[in-house]
């Protein structure tokens, strides 16, 4: 479904992604881990069109999407969240989802919005101001809700569980699993908590210094000496 071939991203003298190749199959849930600064969020930004990569190709559903502007990537089915929630200010929670649905999915469907609000536990807050009246969990839920309203085939979640307490985190992870099954999503999840990754993702890839250093089941990856070294701070050989 998603195929990255030799993606390179340079910012001035800094190379954030080194000729990275990766493919994600339809229906797969992939965990994306790595130390801070490894290039995980940069990868999301390249896939969703925030940045144009310095080199390489991005294919999504068989189509080369590398030249599409950001808003068109949403329309072809790439949904994503931001690590720091980005609500549309001045609008209510429901209006946020309406805009995402109208432009991302192409037409308004109130029943589908009701379902998303219900799944994410936002129904009682749907007319609240999105920028000012939400608790952290609700902000994160809205972040996921906007991405879902786009009716994506690929959902990319950037530390959507970060900063949550353990109990809340588990509940939210279960919600994500429900949502995935309900909408038949392919997911890529950036997450630091290894237990959560193990619970959600049958396959994990590890980034370090803009390179893919491991790819496999959580058990295999987290026992890989190179991965362990990357977390203890050594530079790659």
């Amino acid at each position: 479904m998603l195929e990255l071939d030799a993606i390179t991203m340079r910012f001035g003298g800094l190379t954030a992604l080194h000729a990275m190749s990766l493919s994600v199959a339809e229906g797969e849930t992939l965990g994306l881990v790595g130390p801070n600064g490894a290039g995980k969020t940069t990868l999301f930004n390249v896939i969703s069109g925030v940045y144009a990569p310095s080199g390489g190709t991005i294919r999504f559903g068989g189509q080369d999407v590398g030249a599409l502007p950001q808003w068109k990537r949403a329309q072809v089915g790439i949904g994503r969240t931001f690590q720091i929630p980005q609500p549309m200010r001045e609008l209510t929670v429901r209006e946020n989802l309406r805009v995402a649905q109208r432009f991302g999915a192409g037409k308004e469907d109130p029943a589908a919005l009701d379902e998303i609000l219900d799944l994410l536990g936002l129904t009682h807050k749907q007319h609240a101001d999105a920028a000012t009246s939400l608790a952290l969990t609700e902000q994160k839920a809205l972040e996921v809700g906007k991405a879902l309203a786009v009716r994506p085939r690929l959902l990319m979640l950037d530390e959507v569980l970060g900063g949550l307490e353990m109990a809340t985190k588990r509940a939210f992870a279960r919600t994500l699993e429900t949502v995935r099954a309900r909408f038949g999503l392919t997911m890529v999840i950036i997450e630091h908590d290894i237990e959560t990754i193990k619970a959600l993702c049958p396959r994990v890839v590890v980034l370090n210094f803009g390179q893919l250093i491991a790819d496999g089941t959580p058990e295999a990856v987290f026992n890989d000496p190179q991965v362990i070294r990357s977390y203890t701070g050594d530079t790659p050989a």
Partner: protein, 319 residues
Amino acid sequence: MKHRMVVLVALVLAYGAVPLLLGSMDYVMSLIIAALTIGGVALAWALLGNLGGLVSFGHAAFFGVGAYTSAILVVDHHWPVLLAMVAGGVGAAVASVATMPALRLRGPYFALAILAYGHIFRILAVEATSLTGGAAGMLSIPGFPTLLGINLASKTGAYALILTIVLLFAWLYGLIRRSTYGLALRAMHDSELATRVVGVPSTHLKAAMLVISAFMTGVVGAFNAHQINFLDPEYAFASSWTVLPIAAAIFGGYRTVWGPVLGALVVFLVDQLVFKELMPSGHQLVFGVLLGGMVILGPHGLLPLLGRWSKKEASHAGA
């Protein structure tokens, strides 16, 4: 329900009471027509400012293009006046397409690039002598026809016409504002990234607002040409067509639909009836003071200010 009653009463007053009470006073009617003309441009300016997030210093460009397009179609090609006015709006909309490269500029540069377009259009109007009559202008431009038994060329008729135009535009503005397009546009100001990532083509939407705003301004410009029956480049592209609407929109509050129109009525009438009497030359100084004052004292304009005060009073009354 209460809201509807207010609108209904306002409509009856606007269409019935104003002409009945003031219709015989030509000077007062002229002032009200001029105020509504400015109100129409102010509304168009506010649509671009509020929903497009773009401050323009060049709406005189669209006003002038609309006026000339309509006048030329009627004088040289004998179009019916009302149809030509719509074409005037289309002409301004087409002109706005030429300004679209400016959309990728940041706010202040956009504002000034549009100003440059205004100057360019004015110079072109002077130079295209065969089409526009050059600096000498166009004389005896035909006025409005009689429609459904109402002579639109009379003061009362012209008043009814510009009132209808302004109300239609206000309705259109309200409609856009409430739609998902309006929601997305409002969200874009503070959260452009958040809107783009869910599929909102933000630049396209801004461009659409620019075209609609230019169209509205062009229609009002055309109305003005047929109402005063005369055009020259200095008049049609005068900076007043930019300054007064901005002052009106900011005074009335450009984030609301009615603010610019009410602002135009207040600002223009007070200026003409009070300040022009007090200081015959230089009375436009008041607009400058107004703009500066509004920016420093209340950046969202008068209507929100009034709202804040009345809320305060209400809470006092409740206590």
